[in-house]
Symmetry: C2
Subunit: 460 residues, 2 copies
């Protein structure tokens, strides 16, 4: 087995070629939620398989009913080494609104900024940049003598659209995917200098609600007044989801939501975090969530309900005097603690049914449901990873929560019995899911070195 310095030196020497490889992957528009990009998703999966096989993995594309999985295996030099299962996703969010991108979203480029160089492209941060760090760390080990851990890699192609093929795939391949610990890379650093390990993740329930009234679009002069208007009904449904203190009104919504333990609350209080700055960076100034909760609590430890999209009636230029036959909204919930996703879905449906007039019908489409997840502060894996990150970054990593859900982590826990170590090198301002998404070149370089150190730390 190579020394850690040999591996780190190899990562440094490989940087330029590593960047070329990442760019190749970023050029593939693997937008999973839009069927138009189906072939591109398949192409991204095949590119990863080819790359992993080239390094020395046994990698293959594994078809599903949706976009394919990538699975790869490589042995450690020591047979009794621990076994890690690394997870990432090669699919990306839609690039729209396209007109707000400064350059093409799928034509990656390096941009010089006062704080350093950045990689700009859809997926640069979420999640292609992040997952390639681990691939490059493995490459460095394999080029210098071999891996310190047995490694299984699972790359998914449906993370951004509900991971609908994942449960069946995990169930069908439970044995092949068995390991001692899962490594998940889809998270942030605390700040530009401070690495972070994410120990709490909010879950997600994503529902679409369609309100229908008349059997056809109506003229708002002829029918305005006596005819039910689905947009008004939907407005009432959305307005009724929260009370004036920002709390969700759905009966039972806070069942299973616990107050933060004192020691965690204390640690979060000590983190340097400026809620005004957090909001000011996106042009806001007034915290809009639950009254009486800090912003960190709101995004890491409190459940939410948000409207993510709405459409109904005439939305083109100018005026059309129409009462539409239907209106629809996408409504999502962030879950925490022991929130039960199924119960949230049922309670939401019951709330909507109770809020609409007799003359309206409602249809629901489900776009995913996953529970929240917590990694115990006392775990041995966490201790080793903290030490490895400290060595690379020369400061103690922050132990944080994350507002965004990573469904796979819940699935690993329930289906494979695996805890997950969540380490990622994205920054809060990476504009993931937004125009001009970027990833720091520092993250790309020191992130690969960090994963190399973690693999050694876990194996000792």
């Amino acid at each position: 087995m190579p020394t850690i310095d040999e591996v780190l030196n190899r990562i440094d020497a490989n940087q330029s070629a590593a960047l070329d490889r990442l760019f190749e992957l970023l050029k593939i528009p693997s937008v999973s939620t839009d069927p138009h990009y189906k072939a591109d998703c398949a192409r991204a999966a095949q590119w990863l398989v080819d790359e992993l096989n080239r390094i020395g993995f046994q990698a293959s594309v594994r078809p599903t009913e949706g976009h394919p999985m990538v699975v790869a295996h490589a042995k450690a030099t020591r047979p009794d080494a621990p076994h890690v299962l690394f997870y990432g996703h090669y699919d990306v969010q839609p690039a729209d609104p396209l007109e707000l991108w400064e350059t093409e979203p799928f034509a990656p480029r390096i941009v010089d900024t006062p704080t350093g160089r950045q990689i700009v492209a859809r997926g640069a941060s979420d999640d292609k940049g992040q997952l390639m760090l681990f691939v490059e760390a493995c490459r460095a080990y394999m080029e210098t003598g071999g891996l310190p851990c047995h490694v299984t890699i699972l790359f998914e192609g449906e993370e951004e659209c509900g991971s609908s093929s994942l449960p069946a795939f995990l169930a069908a391949n439970k044995k092949e995917l068995s390991a001692d610990i899962a490594l998940v890379c889809d998270t942030n650093m605390w700040d530009r200098q401070t690495p972070a390990i994410t120990t709490m993740l909010r879950g997600l329930v994503y529902e679409e609600v369609i309100i229908r009234a008349a059997t056809r679009d109506l003229h708002s002069g002829m029918f305005g007044g006596p005819a039910a208007n689905p947009i008004r009904v939907l407005g009432k449904v959305i307005a009724g989801l929260h009370d004036d203190a920002g709390r969700v009104t759905i009966p039972g919504f806070y069942d299973g939501v616990e107050e933060l333990p004192e020691d965690v609350a204390r640690q979060w209080g000590e983190l340097k975090f400026d809620p005004r700055k957090f909001l000011a960076e996106v042009g806001l100034s007034v915290p809009a969530g639950e009254a009486g909760r800090t912003v960190l609590e709101q995004i890491w430890a409190r459940p939410t309900c948000e409207a993510n999209g709405i459409i109904g009636g005439y939305t083109g230029e100018g005026a059309k005097t129409v009462l539409p036959a239907e209106a629809r909204a996408k409504i999502s919930f962030r879950l925490v603690g022991r929130h039960n996703p199924e119960k949230i879905v049922q309670a939401f449906h019951a709330y909507v049914r109770s809020a609409i007039p007799d003359d309206c019908r409602v249809e629901f489409l489900s776009h995913g449901a996953s529970p929240a997840i917590v990694l115990p502060f006392t775990s041995e894996v966490l201790t080793r990873a903290r030490r490895a990150l400290h060595q690379e970054w020369d400061r103690e990593p922050a132990l944080v929560g994350s507002g965004g859900s990573i469904p796979i982590v819940g699935q690993f826990k329930t289906d494979l019995g695996l805890d997950a170590l969540m380490v990622g090198f994205a920054l809060e301002n990476d504009k993931i899911h937004s125009p001009n998404e970027k990833y720091e070149l520092t993250s790309f370089h020191k992130g690969a070195r960090s994963w190399a150190r973690i693999l050694t730390a876990l194996a000792v």
Copy 2:
């Protein structure tokens, strides 16, 4: 001057050719609200000018900053004859949603139904079919000896998108457009056998409201909770526009709105009207307007506020976990009595500003504002028109209100000092503004005969 029977016989003889002419006009997709169809609007205007010149009018296309006007003049055989100003509009509503049309919206066809033959196309009823009736009536007079009234025709191309060029055009051409009475054709029959004269029209204020919060789209996991969500804010704005009794909550909204005079209320009570049937025809069963008001009152004599369109966030297939930077809605008001459009606009803006949090900004776009209008029941013109319609249809015409506004009628009153006689032959189920719009062949034939009779009645 020809006898009325000579003119009616000529209309009968011209029917087949008249239908061919209407089809030519219906084939032109003159959608005024969408800039994409600008050339088609110009083409429709030119087609009408050519047609009117062929009959013997002095007709011309008159450019505006928007779509052009058509103006045409023809003298009566008697110099001291009364002078009528006939108004119609050649522009049509967008055809979307296209997938709900059984055939192409701009490929007119005749459909046989159990209740008679129908012309199916966008604009068949609103307003190309209706305006061609008057053109055909004039043609029959001019082919048989001459007109009984001096006739000026004004065809507009922006009725469906706010008539923004109209006020300046009326002001600049006030003398040329002077007349004794305006004839407006954009209204309905009471039912298939009963003609109607519309004596009350609701006005219209049409506003677009854009709510903006963050400077960019946000990830709903990273920011869900503390960041203001424009869709939720807009939902609250829309939900707050009405109280539980269906009354509009905007302060001052009911200023200038009067109760119906007793005699009018009595006449409406005697009209055969089944609110259940009215709603059932569009798949509804529960009147949704102001509590304690009949459906006829709600659509003819009461003001309303409706949402006509809404859009924000991700509206494509599947899920996107986004908090959008903005959301927008089109909100319109129907005005009655002496409602002041400007005051309604101001009151609406004030309401929205008061309803949004400090962190949000609001922008308004105005898409038109016109007052309500009332024609006195005692007017001589009304008496003569009633007699003419009685002769053609063999029953007394209903004197009705209309929920839809016709901005021109208010403009004629304020800018030209003209009352308007509103007679039209559309039916409630013509699906105007909706897919599969149609116009009854009976309306097309007896409507032209009706206008011929009205011209004679006004001249006697």
